[in-house]
């Protein structure tokens, strides 16, 4: 008998109960978890990997990993947070192992959402082009906090770092995004990120963007 079998006395089964049922051997429980979370996690993977094929591979890795390691989930955080962590780790693992293809500007239809008008989709393309240029850890922090609305504490749990680190990564990342986007050059923003080698996680902008960001001598106000 599955935990998902209809029971009029029980409302919707919680993620935690599904996880526990999966660990007990309920074959349907994990499938339900996948169904509930795969779309959100797809967004995390796509935004972190910068390439749809890699994102698909990473998301599959993540769910297989979650399936295997469900027993290690202690309930210290929400299941969703744990799944975010597994997904981000799968993405970062792939990046570290250099099993990634070149980052490419995502086509419109990868980023278009229901009801989007052209301008919003275009703005999103520009943003994602800029996002792709961030160091991976900054990008992951911004994806979780700014795009997926995790709290700093949740993002810290998902990334396995201190809350202060998340704040710092987000601040640096946003600052770098501001520099990249400052000149309002969508072309640059969406193509410069085509390097397959992410910038070092120093929080420093690229040389080019740093030049454009530098205050002019004499600008002391």
């Amino acid at each position: 008998m599955s935990i998902l079998d209809p029971d009029p006395d029980v409302g919707e089964v919680s993620d935690a109960d599904l996880m526990a049922a999966h660990v007990r051997g309920d074959e349907d429980a994990f499938t339900e978890l996948v169904r509930r979370h795969q779309r959100r996690l797809w967004g995390v993977a796509l935004r972190t990997m910068r390439n749809p094929e890699d994102a698909a591979d990473a998301l599959q890795d993540a769910f297989v990993s979650a399936y295997r390691n469900a027993g290690s989930f202690r309930g210290d955080s929400q299941v969703s947070t744990w799944l975010y962590r597994v997904t981000v780790n799968a993405c970062l693992d792939r990046i570290r192992r250099a099993k990634v293809r070149k980052a490419v500007p995502l086509p419109e239809y990868d980023l278009a959402a229901t009801g989007d008008d052209h301008a919003r989709t275009e703005a999103r393309l520009v943003l994602h082009g800029a996002l792709a240029q961030l160091p991976e850890h900054q990008r992951a922090a911004i994806v979780l906090v700014d795009l997926h609305e995790l709290s700093v504490a949740e993002a810290a749990a998902a990334l396995g770092v201190a809350e202060g680190t998340v704040k710092s990564r987000c601040s640096r990342g946003r600052a770098m995004l501001a520099e990249i986007l400052r000149d309002g050059n969508p072309e640059q923003a969406s193509t410069v990120g085509s390097s397959s080698r992410p910038a070092p996680e120093s929080g420093r902008p690229s040389a080019e963007s740093a030049r454009s960001a530098r205050p002019r001598p004499g600008d002391t106000s």
Binding site: E12, E27, F30, V34, R35, R36, H37, Q38, R39, R40, W42, G43, L46, R47, P52, E53, A56, D57, L59, Q60, F63, V64, Y67, R68, R101, Y109, D110, L111, A113, T114, G115, D116, R120, A123, R124, V126, H128, D146, L147, H148, E149, K167, S168, C170, S171, R172, R174, A175, M176, L177, A178, E179, L181, G203, A213, R214, P215, D219, T220, S221
Partner: protein
Amino acid sequence: MTRRQFGHPGLDQLDELLDADADVSVASLADVRAHVEQCEHCTRELAGLRRVRTMLHAARVELPMPDLLAERIQVAVQREAGHRVTGAVPVHEQLSFDDRPPVFDVPLPWATDPAADDPRAESASGQATSGGTVTQLRPRRRSPLVWLGAAAAAVLAIGVGGGVAMSQFSGGLTASAPDGAAAPAADSAAESAPYYAGSQAAGQSLDRSSGAAAEQSGLVELTPENLPVAARGLTAHSSGDEHSELRSSSPDCATRLGIDPATVAIRALWNGEPALVYVVPAGDNDNITVVDADCQAGQGGGFRYDAVASR
């Protein structure tokens, strides 16, 4: 030279000012705020950071997930669970060519409530809804064969789940099906040379992670349950010269079946048997015909299966 060396706060410090929970009474932030209030340059920088935050907030949408990816994940998880996914279904009955039953419209798995695709509804409930966004996988930087493999994965996953009712019109399986049962596709494919020689070669170029069927045979496995999805995948990814090994130009067969001779057949497995598939668009539907590889439908053991799938 950095902003700080010119006496300006860093952009990350400016960003902290924008945090709703920023405690600007903290000495460092108080200094930053005091600087910004009398520095035009930093005021502009702060505006830029605000713009970034606005853009990030506006980008808080759920991105459409390719349908085939969900199926692929399901197959991967099932494989992890140790399930052997074969897609095999019970052998169909022997029917003569003229015993063709009426054809029914087939509800497609992705033809679900449009509200299911509304990310706002989803985020409001806090849970993913069932049903998929119809996301056509785009022209590829990666070979479309990869997605054909993914289609095979979808075929397998849905083959296990079943649930799509279709009409069946068929001759029985021939003696090549052991004990009259539909052999697992992979085994059948392995034994079916030379017909599969070219397709086996094609299979080698498939993405190895895309699905069990693709790994083992290189051909999509079809069953009555998965036919609508699989046919869609086939037509989407088997066009073009580079996939000629998956296609079969057999105008004589099409003519015999009453299909436009210009329709290209696609090679596949039907319940583990070599088959040709014709998909003919007709308004909002696809007319799908599956026949045995020799186009011997209804002639002493050949099979034919017709269905209409709404797009």
